[in-house]
């Protein structure tokens, strides 16, 4: 058992990093507008399929890693303007139902375009294979995922704290009406924020396609861990999403060590414990949803 501990812990942290990227996007969108984006997984799948299609046509992976999420953002902004925005003033329940419906429609569209079977998508040769870490051999692609997370977090933190736009965004989360009264165009703010969330989903989607299989339902399978991550980390806290992701990753891999069949349940148990002790989540603000 002991010899498994270090590999499992390390693997759990990297897995957690991946959940954190997904949860960050989800959290951004939820914080500003209260939209519970059930279609987040579909945007991930979309980015994965776009990346697959582009790579098939000979576009290099490094370019695709940015291009596929950007195209996904265009779709995302269109969805925000047409479908999500009319529901901002209503209860979060409405946008939850709408995005849930959207994810079902998206699944069928993926099936129509790319077929019911999964498609093969693998990371480029430079990221394929495993590296020896001394205590275990570990896929290079997963180490790359962890690196991308660190870059994404630093970039996001700089954007939110060092740019005028980022400051406005954070201020809007505190008090949207005041920000609007001071002359900021909140519609643009919402759209950019939604786009940013979708961009993170897109990056996660391309990485997921490289690490896991890519099929019409593959993104949806990652949605539940992301929601649990946000709840454990606490609504309203981006830092919480990162910590939540790590905790889930460790919980899943540690449970696998002792009771493999319970690995999936472990994150829900963790969520239940956190909610019992601290209903707003580890770093969450009180009363985000009224």
């Amino acid at each position: 058992m002991i010899e498994h501990l270090a590999p499992q812990l390390f693997n759990g942290l990297v897995l957690g990093a991946f959940y954190a990227i997904v949860a960050l996007g989800l959290s951004l969108i939820m914080n500003l507008t209260g939209t519970i984006n059930m279609a987040h997984g579909s945007f991930m799948t979309l980015a994965g399929y776009l990346a697959y299609t582009l790579v098939q046509r000979g576009v290099p992976f490094w370019f695709v890693l940015i291009a596929a999420p950007v195209i996904t953002v265009l779709v995302g902004v269109f969805v925000e303007r047409g479908l999500v925005r009319p529901l901002y003033k209503r209860e979060p329940f409405y946008s939850l139902l709408m995005t849930f419906g959207l994810s079902l429609i998206a699944e069928e569209i993926f099936r129509l375009i790319w077929g019911s079977n999964g498609v093969p998508f693998s990371p480029p040769a430079a990221l394929a294979g495993a590296a020896s870490l001394g205590f275990m051999s570990f896929p290079i692609f997963r180490i790359f995922i962890a690196a991308v997370l660190i870059v994404a977090i630093v970039a996001l933190a700089l954007f939110l704290t060092r740019t005028r736009f980022g400051l406005r965004l954070r201020a809007a989360v505190q008090d949207t009406e005041m920000i609007a009264a001071l002359g900021t165009n909140t519609q643009v703010l919402y759209a950019v924020n939604f786009g940013l969330g979708i961009f993170l989903a897109g990056i996660a989607g391309v990485l997921a396609a490289g690490m896991l299989g890519l099929s019409p339902t593959s993104g949806n399978a990652l949605l539940m861990p992301a929601f649990v991550t946000v709840i454990i980390g606490g609504m309203g806290s981006l830092f919480g999403s990162i910590v939540g992701g790590m905790l889930i990753g460790i919980a899943i891999s540690m449970t696998t060590l002792f009771i493999p069949a319970a690995s999936e349940v472990s994150m829900y148990v963790l969520m239940a414990i956190v909610l019992l002790v601290r209903p707003r989540g580890l770093f969450g603000e009180e009363g985000i949803f009224g």
Binding site: H4, Q8, A128, A130, F138, L212, S215, T217, I252
Partner: protein, 421 residues
């Protein structure tokens, strides 16, 4: 321009009638003529979710057989029609839809399903409705074992057949220390006990058995245990998208280079979703479109089926397509022979009747447990296909006779009592 203005009253009437039509009220009214004209068969398949790919291919096979019969004039001079329902890979939904197909659509028999859990659910419901059910694609032993019923037949191989066909084949090539990756539901557990039986016969051991929840996306925390167990062979039981995820990650962890890999069953559907570098090993194959070992050298029917299928659906048929074809073909044949749609009569007609079809050799639904007794094959994977056909991934190496891999009649009679009404 003259325009008819719709009065409020007539609008309400129209809307009411429209709603009634939409909610199927006319379905309760007798439709004269129609019932006598067509024979309806209820087809339950997962058209959404992880098993949508196999579900679609089974459906294509069913459709091929039905169309072939209709072209010949149908059964008893009546056309045959498939009424399709999405069982969503959910035993509860499947039970509900099975009842709907029998009670509302008046189908004469039920066919289909991919997941073992769904097969068991439909088997139970169909038994309570006294309706024939042929399980085309759910593999768990119980369907023709512990939970067998007089009205339930199965076309695809049982898990016992899969494990014994591949177990003995793999043991000849690799050692006796095996590591299992098992999906944590009826199908996985059945495979586990089958392989343990093989190991008991050959004197081998299980050095690891990881139970993974159905729909697992990340297998890394299970895979990190393989190195410490040092197995001679890693047996992967998961299917569908789980199979793709698992093998892709095994490759990324460098495990495919270190340990031989194989399993009781591999299907083309998830294999196509894998990059070539993650394809490999020896796997049980239930039918294959491009091997003389599976199709037989001079089997015109089989070769015509493959050609027609590729022309019609623009892709090669899979084992699932074969299950669908054989199931529908046998069912309609039994109705034509008995000149009846009564479940008991059809069931008796199916029992122990030898037939040849789109595979090598002859087969029969065994009287004692209603399992289709047909050969099972083992193939080595060609990662990149063959020159000119990138889809040609199987190199079929072994063929196993059904009687050598399925439990004996005596073993089956100990657990299965059919109990005809």
């Amino acid at each position: 321009m003259a325009r008819t203005v719709l009065s409020r009253r007539s609008f309400v009437t129209l809307a009411g009638a429209g709603t009634a039509a939409a909610f199927g009220i006319p379905a309760y009214l007798p439709r004269i003529g129609e019932a006598a004209d067509t024979i309806k068969i209820g087809l339950l398949e997962p058209y959404t979710g992880v098993y949508a790919g196999p579900g679609e291919n089974e459906t294509n096979g069913f459709q091929m057989a039905v169309d072939a019969w209709n072209k010949r004039g149908g059964a008893m001079g009546r056309k045959v029609e498939l009424v399709k329902e999405d069982e969503q890979n959910d035993p509860g939904v499947a039970a509900q839809k099975a009842r709907k197909l029998v009670n509302q659509d008046k189908v004469v028999a039920l066919v289909g399903t991919v997941s073992s859990a769904v097969s068991l659910s439909v088997a139970g419901v169909s038994n309570s409705l006294n309706t024939l059910f042929i399980d085309s694609g759910g593999h768990t032993d119980d369907v023709t074992g512990k939970s067998c019923h007089w009205n339930v037949f199965r076309t695809c191989h049982s898990t016992w057949m899969e494990t014994h066909a591949t177990g003995y084949s793999l043991q000849k090539r690799f050692g006796k220390k095996w590591f299992f990756i098992t999906p944590d539901y009826a199908y996985g557990h059945a495979l586990e006990s089958g392989f343990k039986d093989v190991l008991a016969h050959i004197g081998g051991t299980v050095v690891g058995n990881e139970l993974t929840p159905l729909g697992t996306t990340d297998f890394s925390s299970y895979l990190t245990k393989i190195d410490a167990a040092k197995p001679d062979l890693v047996l992967v039981f998961v299917q569908g998208d789980d199979y793709t995820n698992c093998l892709k990650q095994m490759n990324q962890f460098g495990l495919l280079k270190k340990y031989p890999v194989g399993g009781p069953q591999v299907e083309l559907e998830p294999l196509y979703g894998l990059p070539p570098e993650a394809r490999g090993g020896y796997w049980g194959v239930e039918w294959y479109y491009k091997s003389e070992k599976t199709l037989g050298k001079n089997n015109k029917l089989a070769h015509a089926f493959v050609a027609d299928y590729m022309k019609r659906f623009n892709k090669p048929p899979t084992a699932r397509s074969c299950f669908g074809y054989v199931t529908a073909d046998r069912l309609i044949n039994a109705m034509a022979e008995t000149k009846s749609t009564e479940s008991v009569k059809i069931a008796h007609a199916l029992e122990n009747t030898r037939f040849t079809s789109i595979f090598n050799g002859s087969a029969y639904y065994r009287k004692e447990d209603h399992q289709l007794m047909w050969p099972m094959w083992v193939a080595k994977i060609r990662p990149n296909g063959t020159p000119g056909d990138k889809d040609d991934l199987f190199d079929v190496v072994d063929i196993n006779a059904p009687e050598a891999i399925e439990q004996t009649v005596a073993q089956k009679e100990a657990v299965c009592k059919l109990g005809y009404p």
